[in-house]
Amino acid sequence: MSATTADAVRHAPARPWLTAAIIWALLLTVPVWLPMLGGYTALAGRVLVLGLAAMSFNLLLGFTGVMSFGHAAYFGLGAYGAGLTLKYLAASTPLAMLMGVLLGGVAGTLFGLLIVRRRGVYFAMVTVAFGQIAFYIAYSWNDLTGGYDGLRGFNRAPLDFGFATIDIADNGTAFYYFLLAVFAVATGLQGLLLASPFGRTLLAIRENERRARFLGIPIERHIWMSFSISCCFTALAGALYALLNNFADPMGLHYSLSGEIVIMAVMGGMRAFWGPLVGATLFVVAQDYISSMTVNWMSFVGLIFVLVVLFFPRGLLGMLQRMGGR
């Protein structure tokens, strides 16, 4: 653990701007090149949404050193928050997103209070179990959430700025750029956060919690804040997911999605800012491809987990950084 950490720090990205530039150039031109490769824009939307979830999760795993295994709960709460708002409150996309973030964020903040003193596998175990509470509620509260069948019967509303309206409801490309804009703002905030003194303090906690504590840093408070922030962003991703599918289902809260979020972060490179996005891309595309080829896609997804853990533990960007650093 300590050896890999030291490695990752030493081989900090040589040209961070280059990675960011390549990623943004690719993301901005998706509607141009993706159809040429035989993909569809909704797939790119999935990548963005799950990429945002994985990056938000990675604020904890990669940059605070705390292992949450229940992030699907906040993702799903965000989705249900947005869906329920659209269905019962008002046909407003921004309001739906706000409510989704609030629902997931508040749940995460409250739960965070209970677990900030836990570490390691215990932290993981408690977060999994708590995540299942959200799953259980969505699953059993049939009247409100649609239970097993999921929440249907809502549609994302066009954006209305007063002077102009953007039709994200029916226009797939417009919706993609809407997702990209939200993604840009969210990841921009995450970048600023990590560059701030607060973010640096989180890195210090990750590297050596005991030493950070001796420096007088209130560890529990920082981990709690990091957890809350991570949950808010994850809930935002969940809200976007509900908008993307016009649907929220209990499987979006299930712990198997939590595991998928973790593997996305790890297979892209959890020490790299953009790693989880790269991982989400690989995972979503692989899953889409495999599930169209065989009914036994679960085995292949499981195999991805096993192979990544045994042979590519640093993830793609982690490996590239290492090669570039030598």
């Binding site: 292992m67 209970l114 836990r118 596998v121 299942q132 679960m298 085995s299 997804v301 853990v309």
Partner: protein, 289 residues
């Protein structure tokens, strides 16, 4: 009404017994190896399916003996081949590994034995009800509880009185020292993993006789087992035992009053424990937390 209560209490005992078997296996592995075995429920399913395959040849009683041992062997091999490689790394890797294994084993079961439920035949003696009045309590239910009691007693005796068992308990407290004293810690962990898998396999055979077989049969037991461990306190097997019984009985008693809340009560107990006594009933502060 009395019959309803009796029915639910026996149900609760049986479900609690399954929670205990699952949670004890998970807890053993967690305490010594710091690994959460997400595939534990799939080990259970595997135990059940192997019993299903073996029953025509060696009968139910033979399968009850052999299938858990085969599950243990399977766990041993998995540990040797894969899980052992990630002990030295961040715990996130062992979690992801067992997570992936869970997917693979579940899909393999579905591929081999089909997605639909399969019935498992049990001896006629066990299928009989206790008395005509208590028609809902079969001998099999009593038998399951009895086997679980024997298995749990056996486990605790093993950990208390055998050399290997004592080493496992010592390793839970301080693995480095056990290693320094010349114990082959790698083998100890593999063996311990096998014992945990054995319990899962046993639970699988018993569950198959009661509810039949399907590829996700262990999934519903995994989360309550986690909660049993959290409630009982990480690092304490006795705590896990208590936690499993507590949530099993609590769920059963709730079923009598308010059936819809029987699962919710498990989560409520966990939240109460996390607020009032975060280390769990018998957990010690600082251990693995």
């Amino acid at each position: 009404m009395l019959e309803l209560i009796l029915f639910n209490v026996t149900n609760g005992l049986i479900i609690g017994a399954f929670y205990v078997l699952m949670a004890l296996g998970l807890s053993l592995i967690l305490n010594l190896s710091n690994v959460i075995n997400f595939a534990h429920g799939n080990f259970l399913a595997l135990g059940g399916y192997m019993a299903f395959v073996l029953t025509p040849f060696i009968g139910f009683w033979g399968a009850l003996l052999v299938s858990p041992v085969l599950t243990a062997l399977f766990g041993f091999v998995i540990e040797r081949l894969m899980i052992r490689r990630v002990y030295a790394r961040d715990p996130v890797y062992s979690l992801l590994l067992t997570f992936g294994l869970a997917f693979i084993i579940q899909d393999a079961c579905r591929y081999i034995w089909g997605p639909n439920g399969l019935p498992m035949s049990i001896p006629d003696v066990l299928a009989q009800p206790l008395t005509p009045e208590l028609f809902f309590i079969t001998w099999y239910r009593i038998f399951m509880v009895a086997i679980v009691i024997v298995a749990v007693a056996g486990l605790f005796a093993f950990l208390r009185y055998t050399r290997v068992g004592i080493r496992i308990r010592a390793g839970t407290l301080d693995l480095d020292t056990v290693n320094a004293l010349g114990v082959n810690v790698g083998m100890l962990r593999s063996f311990n993993f096998a014992v945990g898998s054995l319990l899962a396999g046993l639970a699988g055979v018993l569950a198959a006789g009661q509810i039949g077989l399907n590829p996700n049969m262990g999934d519903d037991l995994l989360m309550p087992s986690f909660i049993a461990i959290i409630v009982g306190g990480i690092g304490s097997l006795t705590g896990t035992l208590l936690g499993g019984l507590l949530i099993g009985v609590a769920a059963a008693l709730t079923t009598v009053v308010w059936p819809a809340a029987s699962e919710a009560v498990i989560y409520v107990i966990m939240l109460i424990v996390l607020v009032v006594r975060p280390r769990g009933l018998l957990g010690e502060e600082g251990m693995l937390t």
